[in-house]
Symmetry: C2
């Protein structure tokens, strides 16, 4: 049986993908990988660990220190005697494009070392994702690049690519992902319980509402606050 690696961010989409992979490839053939790339909120990594633990799936964490440097102003810059380039006097744009390309390339390298031929990522080109490195045509092209550049037949699966948030919630529910879903992280503000106000929280709430499903994350904290009144 083929082996599969899920890129697990600790959010609701990658968690849904983890359960999709378990169903598709069999529990014993699935493992998961989280990148520690200087996320604003460490709670995302904690969430990924907890999700893998609940799903009882192998989980590794791989560091990438590059994005933090590229996205900040702390780039080690070794200027020569003559600083001739016009661009050097301009402040760089701190937006780092292509993050998903790097994640999947490192995931493929990790998979190659372990004879894993299937990568699963929770990207979607619907709803909120305007990132070009999450689109179907980009990922098809990347798959081809990885196959050529690593000489192995890796396949990138994107089970949520064309689903709405509500569709994803319905899928997660059917796949039995709700126990793990209670520990996923979504809030842009890194708040626990989630702030409920940020764009990410509102999008998540809308998806659950449209799928007519209670969010186990919200329920977990509601239970907590009910039993531990201030």
């Amino acid at each position: 049986m083929s082996k599969a690696l899920v890129v697990l961010s600790g959010g609701q989409d990658s968690t849904t993908c983890l359960y999709w992979a378990i169903k598709e490839f069999g529990h014993e053939n699935v493992s998961s990988l989280t990148f520690d790339y200087g996320q604003r909120h460490r709670v995302e990594i904690t969430a990924a660990k907890k999700v893998a633990e609940i799903a009882a799936i192998g989980h590794a964490i791989l560091p990438i220190d590059t994005f933090k440097v590229l996205g900040g102003n702390a780039l080690v810059d070794d200027r020569p005697v003559v600083d001739s380039s016009e661009q050097d006097t301009q402040l760089p744009n701190t937006f780092v494009p292509g993050r998903n390309l790097v994640f999947l390339t490192f995931a493929a390298a990790y998979a190659y070392q372990r004879n894993i031929e299937h990568l699963i990522t929770g990207v979607a080109q619907t709803d909120y994702s305007g990132y070009p490195d999450c689109r179907e045509n980009t990922l098809s092209s990347l798959e081809q690049t990885l196959r050529l550049g690593m000489e192995y037949t890796v396949t990138i699966h994107t089970p949520l690519m064309n689903l709405s948030k509500a569709d994803t919630v319905t899928m997660a529910n059917k796949l039995g992902a709700m126990d793990a879903m209670a520990y996923t992280h979504t809030c842009y503000n890194g708040a626990q319980p989630p702030c409920g106000h940020c764009q990410a929280c509102q999008l998540r709430a809308k998806g659950f509402a449209e799928a007519q499903c209670a969010d186990p994350l919200v329920e977990r904290f509601a239970f907590f606050s009910h039993n531990h009144p201030e």
Copy 2:
């Protein structure tokens, strides 16, 4: 005028490419980038700095801590309670494929932030390079992936792709790269002066011999030992 970024390793090929880029794009439009990815020999980074300094070209160093972890046995591994995957009991292959894909993706991200549309890399599919991520078809596919994934028209230039080592030496000579060439690093053993025995040293020597050109690196150390006898 278009701006160009040279991926500078500190070796003879990327140094030749730096001078190629200066000729092609104009000195004021060229900058250079070196990756600090846990090279076995730190002397490579020192060489890159020195080359950029001699060429009087802006030079930045970008860290990547991921390869060292992927290539070793120090991967942070966060195992769940149930360790169910068969592959987890096998030692991973420590060869990390696709290094060049990562370098060029990060270079493109760095370039994007600075409105640089041309990337130059010294890879060659002739002579010794058997790496699939250095081949022409891989880099064409990667270029397409980067264009789609970052939504900008980046072009990857590989001026040495089909040249022999001797051709590269001849090109470097014509481009006036020999002052910088004296400070490049090639030796697999990280030795200074170069050991002369390893595969890299021998390939370099063969290239210079076939091009009927003295290696300024060898001459620099010969001069040194002549004037500083032990």
